[in-house]
């Protein structure tokens, strides 16, 4: 599903975030990207979502090499990927239901269908009944679950998350990770970047450990 081939990423500031990263994540697999902050976890996720382009090397997502995707085709490409952010990136001036519905509205799904799928997504993250709440009326953990509901409402084959538990206490963090595991169980490819090694013990998923812009270790190899 995801394939990195000797990928380099140098930012305009001159900082080299990735220095020859190669790895693969298969379809339907769940993988954790770990490593200290600054090791390149976020850069990898940005390259997957085409928020950034590699300086050198080849990134493939699905069956496509991202180099071949023109700027005009990026919106369509991103609809195949659910993205969860550490800071949720919700729209605070509209209710939960509208936040979750956004990807469907963008994709032009009919109104009736949208309502149904929004309720289903909120049900999956345990927030059914909070449709009319404003994001700021919710706790941080609940806001993060709204973000997850928005990421999965379009039923993307790939779900990526950048430090999704960074602001959560351990119990909530574990719950969020279990949520990702459940999506993986129904066939979604999941890649989660986290520095919290303790949390991901016992999930039995692939671990790709990054250090200084390279893959330092993989387990199981």
């Amino acid at each position: 599903m995801i394939r990195f081939d000797q990928v380099f990423k140098r930012y305009p500031s001159g900082r080299e975030a990735l220095s020859g990263v190669s790895f693969q994540v298969g379809r339907g697999e769940m993988a954790f990207l770990t490593g200290p902050s600054g090791a390149g976890k976020s850069s990898i996720l940005k390259l997957i979502a085409l928020i950034e382009r590699p300086t050198r090397g080849k990134v493939s997502v699905g069956d496509r090499v991202t180099d071949t995707i023109r700027p005009r085709a990026i919106p369509q490409f991103r609809r195949q990927i659910g993205v969860v952010f550490q800071d949720h990136k919700l729209l605070y001036d509209r209710p939960v239901a509208d936040n979750v519905a956004l990807p469907l509205v963008i994709a032009g799904v009919p109104r009736k269908e949208i309502d149904k799928r929004v309720r289903a997504a909120l049900d999956q993250v345990g927030l059914l009944g909070r449709e009319r709440s404003r994001p700021l009326e919710l706790s941080t953990g609940e806001q993060q679950r709204v973000g997850i509901a928005r990421a999965v409402v379009g039923k993307p084959p790939l779900l990526i998350a950048d430090e999704p538990t960074g602001n959560l206490d351990p119990d909530l963090a574990l719950e969020v990770m279990r949520l990702f595991k459940r999506f993986n169980d129904v066939g979604v490819t999941v890649v989660v970047a986290t520095h919290d090694l303790h949390l991901i013990e016992g999930f039995g998923a692939r671990r790709i450990v990054l250090g200084e812009g390279r893959v330092a270790a993989e387990s199981p190899a």
């Binding site: 979502a49 919106p75 991103r78 609809r79 729209l91 956004l102 990807p103 509205v105 963008i106 032009g108």
Partner: protein, 307 residues
């Protein structure tokens, strides 16, 4: 068919949604619309003024006459003779003879100088012929030629064209009309810039939202749509407000102007903008708002990328 339906439903939703956004900040929205309205009121007011000036002067333009003053030495019979000669000309439609005593009586009646006239020895007024040119000669060149021909006749003292000032007025109205058009063009550009600037600030305020939309697969067009409708509303609101301002000004002026016209024995009434022009103003202001928004939103939204 279903897709088309969904497309229109989405647009209707954004249309209403953008209106809701404006309503959420009523003071700021109203302020922007008022600025637009003031910019549009100036050329519109000028247009109304000129339209009325033309309506008021239209009657004068067709029926202008030449006043032919005969020499004091000419007899009444001579006046009749000259009148007959003029009537025979192809470029003359009618000749009215006003003999000196009749002219004096009329002057006495209308001028209010009766007592002063009594003090005069004899009648100071000459015999006068009022000459109406034929329609074919009712051009500036035609009347000038006629005037010259009559002035050359014996026993004619002076020929006065009543319409020289009407021609000047017409020329001035035409100039002002051109001016209104130029001002309209400039201020239309102003509306585009006002809306563009407002939308630019709007976009800056909603930067985070646009980034999120792009992150979850929204196209530039999708992110731009609410701003386009916002620009449309600004323009329409400003246009409607401008029409209101013009209507209020017209109403405030109409009573004094009717009174003034009445004093001149005229039934002239100030007329406001007609329905077609008003509709045109709304259409144009809406389009200008849309255009201003389109120019700015297209550029700025393309430049916003999630980081």
């Amino acid at each position: 068919m279903k897709r088309l339906e969904a497309y229109f439903a989405r647009h209707a939703q954004v249309l209403v949604g953008s209106l809701g956004r404006l309503a959420a900040a009523p003071v700021a929205s109203l302020l922007t619309m008022t600025v637009i309205a003031v910019a549009l009121t100036l050329p519109l007011g000028l247009h109304v003024l000129l339209q009325n000036a033309r309506a008021a002067s239209a009657g004068w333009n067709d029926a202008f006459n030449l006043s032919v003053y005969l020499a004091k030495s000419a007899s009444d019979a001579r006046a009749g003779e000259i009148a007959a000669r003029l009537r025979a000309r192809g470029d003359v439609a009618a000749v009215k003879v006003v003999l000196a005593p009749q002219a004096l009586a009329e002057f006495r009646q209308y001028s209010g100088f009766g007592d002063a006239l009594d003090a005069l020895q004899g009648n100071p007024l000459p015999d006068t012929l009022i000459v109406t040119p034929a329609i074919s000669a009712s051009t500036t060149a035609g009347t000038a030629a006629l005037k010259q021909a009559i002035a050359a006749m014996p026993d004619v003292d002076r020929v006065q064209l009543d319409t020289e000032w009407v021609a000047r007025l017409t020329a001035m109205i035409e100039l002002l009309q051109r001016l209104a058009l130029v001002a309209g063009g400039m201020l239309g550009l102003g509306v585009v810039l006002i809306v563009g600037n407002t939308i630019r600030l709007d976009i800056d305020n909603r930067r985070a939202e646009i980034e999120v939309m792009k992150l979850v697969g929204g196209t530039d067009g999708f992110a731009r749509r609410p701003f386009l409708y916002g620009g449309l509303w600004y323009g329409l609101g400003g246009g409607a407000l401008a029409l209101l301002l013009v209507a209020v000004a017209t109403a405030a002026l109409s009573a004094p102007i009717a009174r003034l016209a009445g004093l001149y024995g005229s039934a002239f009434r100030l007329s406001g903008l007609d329905a077609a022009t008003s509709g045109g103003v709304l259409l144009a202001s809406g389009l200008l708002g849309w255009l201003g928004s389109w120019i700015v939103a297209t550029r700025h939204i393309r430049a916003i990328n999630p980081a």
